[in-house]
Structure formats: structure tokens, C-alpha cells
Symmetry: C2
Subunit: 257 residues, 2 copies
Amino acid sequence: MKLAISGKGGVGKTTIASALINIIARNEGTVYAIDADPDACLASSIGIPDEEAASLKPVVEMRDAIRNKTGNGAFYNLNPKLDDFIDDYSYKLGNIRFFRMGDPKKGGSECYCRENTFLNALISSLLLDQNDTVIMDMGAGIEHLSRGTARGVDMMLVVVEPGRNSINTAKQVERMAKDLGIPKVGIIANKIRSVGEKQFIAKNFQDDLILGYIKFSEAIWANAMEPSQAVELDKDLLVEMEKVCRKILREVGGKSN
Amino acid sequence: MKLAISGKGGVGKTTIASALINIIARNEGTVYAIDADPDACLASSIGIPDEEAASLKPVVEMRDAIRNKTGNGAFYNLNPKLDDFIDDYSYKLGNIRFFRMGDPKKGGSECYCRENTFLNALISSLLLDQNDTVIMDMGAGIEHLSRGTARGVDMMLVVVEPGRNSINTAKQVERMAKDLGIPKVGIIANKIRSVGEKQFIAKNFQDDLILGYIKFSEAIWANAMEPSQAVELDKDLLVEMEKVCRKILREVGGKSN
């Protein structure tokens, strides 16, 4: 199963991603967790120290390593024998294999097109074992969709909060995911503080699109100032996300379960 | 005076931008307000109806129009006679001239490099009248900095909230703004709910970098579900932002005041 998590900036993509990564790693099997945001913060959310994440070789460098090995850079020739590369480019934490997209760049040096192009190729052609999952935490907004970075996923998850702007973004994501041929889209409503807020989101989407409603968490807000976010400790979030996770598994079950 | 507003997704860039645009338009003169985020939402924040903003010709198309007029696309040959173009590509609202970066794209069609390159060229070479201001609301995160979109501004404003991630982003922005040769950087602390949160931000930056602390606003949160955000009605925000604005004018005063 291959999933991408998107949405407007600040809606809680990384929090939702790390909960999902933890739940699936605990119950299903290996999770390849990819931080696809140049403004990266997934590592610390799943409990990997910042220094460890920063010293990890970025995925984009895999391209040259594969080119050296295969002569043409076409890593699908190598697939599924990517194991050596995976060891080399990922940080292992239990069942989680964490990857980061690219290095920080100098101001004015270049865009992240190269990183996005490689991630697209990697995700599209990666052959997964039964019970293995890829979860990509995408950059804020919609440019990764115009680039097609997550073209190869089975389902695009879109996180929204009770606000017009994040809902407008979600509708753009839905449209662009369709352009990319992504088979499924699911909405996760986050930071809900009242029935009114829940209804506001509900009236903006078809019922069957919404995978769950996550309550606003004071604990997560307070935790954001701590050295490590440790969202795996937020019980309410995990309970809700376990339900969301079961729905996702049912939705894409035809392919991987 | 040319300003850009950046920061991690969700910190409140657009809210801060629209307050600043309103204050400067009221007190100083013409404000060229540019939404430089592909996931655009500045227009409705400053009171421009979504349909009007959507029907506006995007700035990136100005390139071809200028090429047709000058023969080489070098609009600095035309400058400061950009007035016709400005009428053609902006939406006028009192002293505000609103521009949007580009059109929504099809999923998988292309990146926004072309739009960013043109904005960079436009901002760098635009000659402003005394008392005129450019305010660019940048996309979430750091890719606009690696691209150098806002290279020509006098000051890079970075919005942070009381959380480790937005502070890490701000430090990256600070570093990359220096790479770009942007003369000044200022931090605006947003969504502050307690003394502890204020101290958390204060201890992460040099005193003279921080331009102000904006309280968390229930009104803005609630307003986010309304058809138009109308942040100009939030009194507390405006009072705080007026102080921030005076500091900005002093900081870049040598150039424009």
C-alpha cells in the first residue's frame, strides 16, 4: 500500500502522518516513511533525533548510486533488489524505515524539482512486499501535485482543519489527484473543537470521502515546544487514527490486503 | 520598500500579510500586494472576492506581454513605465494593487519555477515611487528561498508560532535570506496564548530580531469558516501590527522613509 499525505500548510499533515506510520508499523509490517517536504519535520515527530535525521543520506543521491550500479539510473531494473540501497539511505526505527528527500540548500541555488522527479520515479516503480506500506508526508500546498510527485500512490490523504482555506486546498488536491490518476482520495478532518466545526467540514465534502474527525489536542499544541514531539503518546489521536487506518486499509484493500 | 512574508505552513503568514497591507495602504501610499503562493489565499484575506481574484490575469503572463512590447522581455527597459501593465494585471482596492502569481495547474503538468523566476526578476528591478510598498506573501516553507524568488526585497519577515518546527523553519529562512543578500530579517511571533509561549520564542532569537508578539485570536479562528476572512476587523491584531509596522519602517527607513 502506498499513501501520500497532503493539505494546506499548518493543518497537521506531519502529526497525522506520524500517527499513521506508528499504527501501521505496529500492526501491519514495514513502513517506508518518506519526508517529501523540503521544510522537513517528520523525523522528530516519529522519534528520530534531529542530528540522526540530518546526517542521513538524502534519497535524491540514490539516483547517482543506482546509475553507477546499473549503468543507466533505471532503478526499476534493480527492483526488488533495492535492499542494499534501502539500508544505506534509511534510518531504521523498529518497523519504520525513514527517508528524507534532500539536503537543505543555499538560498538562491536551485528548486527542488530534481528531488520531486526522483521521488515520483521511486514511488511509482517500487515493488512492495505484501504488508509493506509507503507513507509520504508531502510539502504544504499544491505544487507537489502540479509536479506529480505522488503519482504512484494508491491513495491521497488530505488533511483539513475547520477553515475555508484548507478546504479550498483540499478541493484542489482532489482535482489534481484525479489528473494524476490516483485511484482514491480521503479527507481527514483535524483540530476539531466543536460540533459546528465538524458540521462545517462535513457539508463541504461527500460523506464517503471523510475518513475521520480528529479533535483539537491541547497536548499536541503544548508538545510542539518540547525537544521531541512524541505524538505517539497522544492517546486520543491514536484511537481516532486507528479507526481512520482501518478505513484506509478497507479502501485500498483490493490492492494490498 | 519591498517586503516578503515567509514561514512554516500554518503560522499565519497570510493573516499577517493582509494586516500589514491594510495598515500601509491606509497610512503610507500604494501597496503592491503579491500572492506568491501557488496555494493562494491572500485575495480573500484582503477583501477581494474569490471570483474576481480567479479572473485576474496572473503576473507570469506579463512576461510575454512585455516581450511583445519591448522585443526581448526585459521589462527593466520599460520601467518605470509599467503603469499600463499594472492596470492590466492587478485588482485595485483603494490603495491596494493585488497581483496573483499564476493559474491553478493540472496535476502532473509542471512546477512553479517559471512563476518564481519571473517574480524574482520583477521584484528585483521594479522601481518604486517614494511611499510605495511591495508586500509579497510567500509560499509555505523554504523552497521559495532556495529558488531566490524574493531576492530583491529590503526585508524578509518570518512569522513563527510557539512550536519547535516553525522556529527551525525561521532559522533556515534567516540563513537563506543571508545567502540571498537580503539586508534585513525580522521575526513576527504569532498565536501567542501565554507568557510561557512568548518566552519560548524570545529565547530562540536575538532580541532585536523580534518585531512583535501577536496574541492568538479566537475571532480569526472563527472567521476562518466565514466566506470572507475580513481580518481588517480584528482590532487586537491591527493594534499589534501597527507597532510592528512602525518598527519595519524604521528598520528599512534608510531606503524609503
